[in-house]
Symmetry: C2
Subunit: 308 residues, 2 copies
């Protein structure tokens, strides 16, 4: 089978830090073009945006959208109408209605749409899922606390409506929890802390419940300096199952378990190659549904202005 000819749209921090290396390391897919307002990349065709890219007639099979979520819909729509498979960075869009529309459009065109969750592809996630499928869960709690100044320096879009604020990292945790829990869950209470000068929350405290009544809690905070915390702790009748470091390390009953080397983005591109080969899509939007619920059901608290 010939390799997928891929174009990246949006050559910012996430594309350079993760996508370029992962594409290079994955067989069955080759980067042939880039669309970016400001940046260029040696060795591939460069365009200023997706419209120019598609209008150029360059031979590509798929696009990977690494732009901020607010403009993602029109880019994905243009790509699908041009007959290209589409891979979406997380979050997949700024609204649920638009991602549902993309799902329907991809289906109607017979194209692959892959709504990626890089944290779900972390090394400890599948082992934890398998383990929890065999245990009786009592509770699950998420602690996802990081320093926004370090991870998102000067990224104004992340504080705008649609940028999701602390849910930008928090949705990574939700993408793991929705994968490892054997049943679905729904929000019962949500408290969102907004800086006085920002349109997105800097912290969130969420209480969910599964259909059978198991409590699921999540604490997201963007104000943590020093050591960073990306932990998910599951208490079961047989002992604890703990994922740390964003889902890349696993502790079972207090003991570390060996897991594969972490290669989130390589896994995503491997899965994309496989989806395209099968003519299939992977569009689990449940993490974004939980975020929308958290806003809809959220009680808002105002805190001091945030400047970076």
């Amino acid at each position: 089978m010939t390799s997928i000819r891929l174009a990246i749209v949006g050559l910012g921090k996430i594309a350079r830090d993760q996508h370029l290396g992962a594409i290079e390391a994955t067989s069955g897919i080759d980067l042939v073009a880039v669309a970016s307002r400001n940046a260029k990349l040696d060795g591939v065709a460069c365009f200023s945006d997706i419209e120019d890219l598609l209008a150029s007639g360059i031979a590509i099979d798929a696009v990977s959208l690494c732009t901020p979520p607010q403009g993602r819909f029109s880019q994905a729509k243009a790509a699908l109408y041009a007959g290209k498979h589409v891979m979406l960075e997380k979050p997949p869009g700024a609204t649920l209605s638009e991602v549902y529309a993309l799902e329907a459009l991809a289906k109607s065109k017979g194209l692959s749409l892959f709504s990626t969750w890089h944290s779900r592809a972390a090394a400890a996630v599948e082992p934890a899922r398998a383990l929890l499928g065999q245990r009786k869960i009592r509770s699950l709690s998420v602690e996802w606390k990081e320093d926004v100044r370090h991870w998102h320096p000067g990224q104004a879009w992340i504080w705008e409506p649609g940028g999701l604020g602390v849910f930008d990292p928090g949705i990574n945790a939700l993408s793991i929890v929705t994968r490892i829990m054997p049943e679905t869950f729904h929000l019962v209470a949500s408290q969102l802390t907004f800086p006085a000068n920002r349109a997105a929350p800097i912290a969130a405290s969420l209480s969910f419940e599964t259909a059978s009544g198991i409590p699921v809690g999540a604490e997201f905070d963007w104000r943590q300096t020093g050591p960073q915390t990306w932990d998910i702790r599951v208490e079961t009748e047989e002992g604890s199952v703990v994922l740390t470091h964003g889902g890349s390390r696993l502790f079972v009953d207090g003991e570390p378990r060996m897991v594969e080397e972490d290669k989130e983005y390589s896994n995503l591109y491997r899965d994309f190659v496989s989806l395209v080969a099968k003519g299939a899509s992977d569009t689990d939007f449940s993490p974004l549904v939980h975020v929308a619920d958290a806003f809809m059901l959220g009680r808002r608290i105002q805190t001091e202005a945030f400047e970076d």
Copy 2:
């Protein structure tokens, strides 16, 4: 075929104003029980809540939930686990995750779940839908402005998280627009006005776009005294199509069109009888998806405290 033996849960304003008369007027369904914390109804079995109702062993086939949305999930779940068909007042729940979970549960049990939208059952809606299917639409705008003090006097739950504030009436408009528009649409901007002392918005200004780029606007406001406005105006290349009075009157190119007498709730119960007979469900949650999107993408403005 024998009639559906129905229990109403929640005997508040909407149940007394609309449901009781509509059930009485509909063939194929009979009210046999009521569950209400405070109220009783002559001539039927009365229980204090759905748990007592279900535990009593009284012979019922279905429940109609007329309680506020925040507690709806556990009631609907209990009813479905007890093998009863379920009809949900609008909005169908406090979160999307919970209504998706109910949809899956009803399907797995082979029971009918009907997520009702009473405004969608208004007299002008189907004629407008048929007409718009044959015209070329340029734009749609909603103006939904009413006096909350008149319609929701002292209803504290409506101002709490999950009560939706002005989206409680606004979702009625969205339930019509999602029905009459030939294509789906998604939110592009949202501005929500919150009273300083309330957890839900008193006004909302929304801009949507269809996949083909048609603008859809909506203005919701709960501060309108005097004449009330529940209008949807569609501009088409062939002239205007206007629904007034909450979808019960229709004007085409400026001329009033005769439509059936308005009987929203009777239509809902007629449809429920038909769904149960067919073993089918009707669970279009798209109006609630738009509301969740409006919160997630919403820019918040604070206004003066509201007291009623």
